[in-house]
């Protein structure tokens, strides 16, 4: 067992109360898949790719809440239109899909990385496209939105995170997990564009372990949840996962242990996150995490750390721009259950074998700092 796996198991052991087992929603998820595929006249779990509703992950919320639906869009990575219209088309399609929902969702959460290089032109383009959506919109930033001007344009246009509000019996929290990079730019006398370029490079070295909630925001989170009953549901939105998936690509927050400790007293916490551009599902203690699609492009599963509870996405065709991307619809039912649906623009979403998911493809890699960063 690797050190990372050992640590992960230890954290789960510490955080899960005696006698608790992983949430039963996993088995319900399988039943949902089988049920849906039978309805479609398809045979067996291999045929659970549904269109357009493509996956179901059931989450148990506390009883007593009202049903509601909300939409998640993130990782649009818009360039100026003069350079790239492909990402504009895909973001537009997602926003039109959301707006076409009937009945409409209660709100849209935009989960970060609206622009690619934090350019005000990109962020304004995103704001223009988002005009398509008439329901309430809430925002959290991604690192691509932030490091050109350290969030100045983002905060002015979309408001500051963190924030919280209550909605139909659920306390909802939006976090900023991107603004806590150590200063690697001042001593190197980098321009703002150079800083942004390094932060926009997923496998770059200089940005380091930039993803974090941070001590101040953790204190805020404690306060924000202080008056909330421990048995009532909490929904946390973040750009990065709130557990350790793959630190070299910042598929984590570096203070995930502290975040988990803060959320530990609550019986029902669901984290919805972006950044990973791929379906993910994980549970640590009572914290469930769901990774959402990007509209821009999919990422391969990391060489290690893919949660075992994840149903892996099928390999996509890089020659088809609308493959492997999409948005998410989350539905809290009247009996206080929530379905998360991947709205991917293809028929099959999930792989049934590892060769078709690629989850085992990159474990050959010897991880080392980016060679061009060794200045």
């Amino acid at each position: 067992m690797s050190d990372r796996e050992h640590l992960r198991r230890e954290m789960d052991r510490v955080l899960r109360a005696p006698g608790e087992r992983p949430d039963g929603s996993i088995s319900l998820t399988r039943r949902t898949f089988l049920h849906k595929s039978l309805l479609q006249g398809a045979a067996g779990a291999a045929a659970y790719g549904l269109f357009p509703t493509l996956s179901m992950i059931d989450l148990a919320f506390a009883q007593g809440g009202q049903g509601f639906r909300f939409a998640w869009v993130s990782d649009t990575h818009l360039y100026p239109k003069s350079l790239n219209t492909r990402f504009v088309e895909k973001a537009t399609r997602a926003f039109k899909d959301v707006q076409a929902m009937s009945p409409p969702p209660d709100f849209l959460i935009f989960g970060g990385d609206l622009g690619q290089l934090g350019d005000p032109v990109e962020l304004q383009l995103g704001a223009d496209l988002l005009q398509e959506i008439k329901v309430k919109k809430v925002f959290i930033p991604g690192e691509h939105d932030w490091y050109l001007d350290m969030g100045a344009t983002w905060n002015r246009m979309f408001g500051k995170a963190p924030w919280t509000f209550d909605h139909k019996g659920v306390r909802i929290v939006g976090l900023d997990t991107v603004s806590h990079a150590e200063d690697f730019w001042t001593s190197r006398k980098m321009t703002a564009k150079e800083r942004m370029g390094h932060m926009a490079t997923l496998d770059g070295t200089l940005g380091g372990a930039w993803a974090a909630v941070g001590a101040e925001q953790l204190k805020w989170l404690n306060t924000a949840l202080n008056d909330w009953p421990k048995d009532k549901p909490v929904l946390v939105f973040s750009h990065n996962p709130l557990y350790e998936y793959y630190p070299p690509w910042n598929f984590w927050v570096r203070d995930w242990r502290e975040v988990n400790e803060t959320l530990k007293p609550f019986a029902n916490v669901t984290n919805i996150h972006g950044h990973v551009h791929q379906p993910l599902y994980n549970e640590i203690g009572k914290l469930r995490s769901i990774g959402m699609l990007a509209t821009s492009w999919p990422w391969p599963y990391a060489p290690e750390g893919v949660p075992v509870l994840t149903r892996a996405m099928i390999r996509v065709d890089p020659g088809e721009p609308f493959d492997g991307v999409g948005w998410g619809l989350l539905t809290t039912s009247a009996n206080a259950r929530t379905d998360a649906e991947y709205k991917m623009w293809r028929k099959e979403v999930f792989a049934t074998t590892q060769v078709d998911s690629g989850t085992g493809d990159n474990d050959n890699q010897i991880l080392s700092p980016r060679i061009a960063d060794r200045i």
């Binding site: 070299p248 020659g319 980016r370 060679i371």
Partner: protein, 151 residues
């Protein structure tokens, strides 16, 4: 059963090996032993190409300009879909490549990605840029075992 012709060939190879001194000393009897400095120089040549390939793979404009290539016209770079060259599978080539519906080399695949997702300009298969990209991709997958033809 070993044929008479092959048997004669094996004897000839064995005699040649004896003449060259195989078994009695270092296997590099046909040349001088490498010095540490030479080996370091060889590695430096390779790593310089790896670095150039890294820069190209990450879309560095200066490196593309200096080599006279345009790998993308969309702002996308190879590394955006292939962080640390993930999912490039260099150890599987040559193989049948679905997207091309053809038997392809790694260089063919690199050019396909340049032309299709990146909408860039195809590069000469034997160009410096191609060799550098290949060096970076292979270096990043240096722990792999060869699996040619595997999909």
């Amino acid at each position: 059963m070993v044929s008479a012709k092959l048997h004669e060939s094996l004897i000839a190879v064995a005699l040649l090996a004896l003449l060259l001194g195989f078994g009695a000393g270092p296997a590099r009897a046909h040349k001088e032993a490498h010095t540490a400095e030479q080996l370091k120089a060889f590695e430096d040549v390779f790593m310089e190409q790896v670095k150039i390939g890294d820069l190209l793979f990450h879309g560095d404009p200066g490196t593309q300009k200096s080599l006279g290539v345009q790998l993308s016209k969309t702002g996308m770079a190879c590394a955006m879909c292939h962080p640390y060259t993930s999912d490039t599978h260099p150890y599987q080539f040559p193989k049948f490549q679905e997207q091309m519906n053809a038997f392809a080399t790694l260089r063919d695949m690199i050019n396909w990605c340049i032309e299709k997702p990146n909408e860039g300009e195809k590069i000469d298969a034997n160009s410096d840029a191609m060799k550098a990209l290949e060096a970076y991709i292979y270096w990043s997958n240096r722990n792999s075992k060869l699996e040619p033809g595997v999909h």
